[in-house]
Amino acid sequence: MSGRLRRSMLFVPGNNPGMIRDAHIYGSDSIMFDLEDSVAIDQKDAARFLVYKALTTLHYGSKELVVRINDLTTGLGIKDLEAIVRARPDVIRLPKTETAQDVIDCEREIERIEREAGIPVGSTGMMAAIESAIGVLNAKEIAFSSKRLIGIALGAEDYVTDLKTTRSPEGIELMFARGMIVNAAKAAGIMALDTVYSDVNNEEGFIAEATMIRKMGFDGKSIINPRQVAPLHAVFTPSERDLKKARAIMDAIAEANARGSGVASLNGKMIDKPVVARAQYLLDLYERSKSMPVEEV
């Protein structure tokens, strides 16, 4: 798995020059320029030119740059790829992924364009958003479908519509989809990325949801408002107590290794391999978080 953090992936409407200009100042780990749902159907061409020119011209520092294209079945997706692959974002986000074949079809087009444009083949990453009941059932096949995939994401709005239900503050309607997606992603060794929380004025609800999805094993979340960056990063930052415990575990195992013993214990409890792995992950997450400070908005 890439060492990159993707705690926060900020959607930026692709036809909004002001937001495209300022997108890097909010401290999100990734910026996701959107050519899909936030762009009116008669402005798809204008948004495509705008995101293309922004990516070929502007510098966003070390931010990960993602572009959400339109679904390939619409005819718009292929036009998006022709432009966007040449602009060389880090990742292309494929919406409404239902099968592994959807990813394979998109990858084939990306590879063709990379060859035509003289771009190193394989250098464009992909992520697949799963937004339907069938997509959720195929999550495992989707997660394993391409080496380019950095992660799979849940798109909840279309998913709950497909289920003929609505979103609730507790997210009970998303439990199965989240469980499937996080399991499929981890089995494939890629990231699991959660859906947006649309009620931007409900910070308490947002934090509760972020806390839950982190506990479930998600690596991050799509967000639609810069105000959500700081609370989200706070949720994904290990607490002092957790860090202290993780350091103590690592010290105990180092000491046991120095003694030539394969068994370590801490406060009377045996430390086995998964405990060490979790402690290492936590410390690693903390170290990487430190190098990406949140800017005040």
Binding site: P17, R21, F49, K53, A54, T56, A83
Partner: protein, 100 residues
């Protein structure tokens, strides 16, 4: 690229520019520009519009642009969108490749 109808792209929002391109019988680009930052950036905006049209092979057009503080990349993007719309064309060509 031949301009055959009126093509408009952009908005009046801050950081954007509206570019309107219309057919012209004789060769040459006739450009009219209005900008909140005319004094500082008028020449640069005009240069970007003319260069973009030149790259697209537009030889004859009336262009009217109302700028609201757009970056060069926005000026270029709106000019491209307006030109393709005015040429009634969706045969988009993307030549530029980002260097990494």
């Amino acid at each position: 690229m031949k301009i055959i109808t009126t093509g408009v792209a952009g908005t009046m929002e801050s950081s954007d520019i509206i570019v309107r391109i219309e057919p012209k019988e004789t060769n040459g680009i006739e450009l009219e520009l209005e900008s909140d930052v005319m004094q500082q950036f008028g020449k640069q905006i005009e240069k970007v519009i003319r260069e973009t049209l030149d790259e697209l092979g537009v030889e004859a057009a009336y262009v009217n642009a109302v700028d609201k503080g757009a970056l060069d990349c926005t000026v270029a993007a709106r000019t491209m969108a307006a030109a393709y719309r005015a040429a009634n064309s969706t045969d988009y060509v993307f030549k530029e490749v980002t260097k990494k």
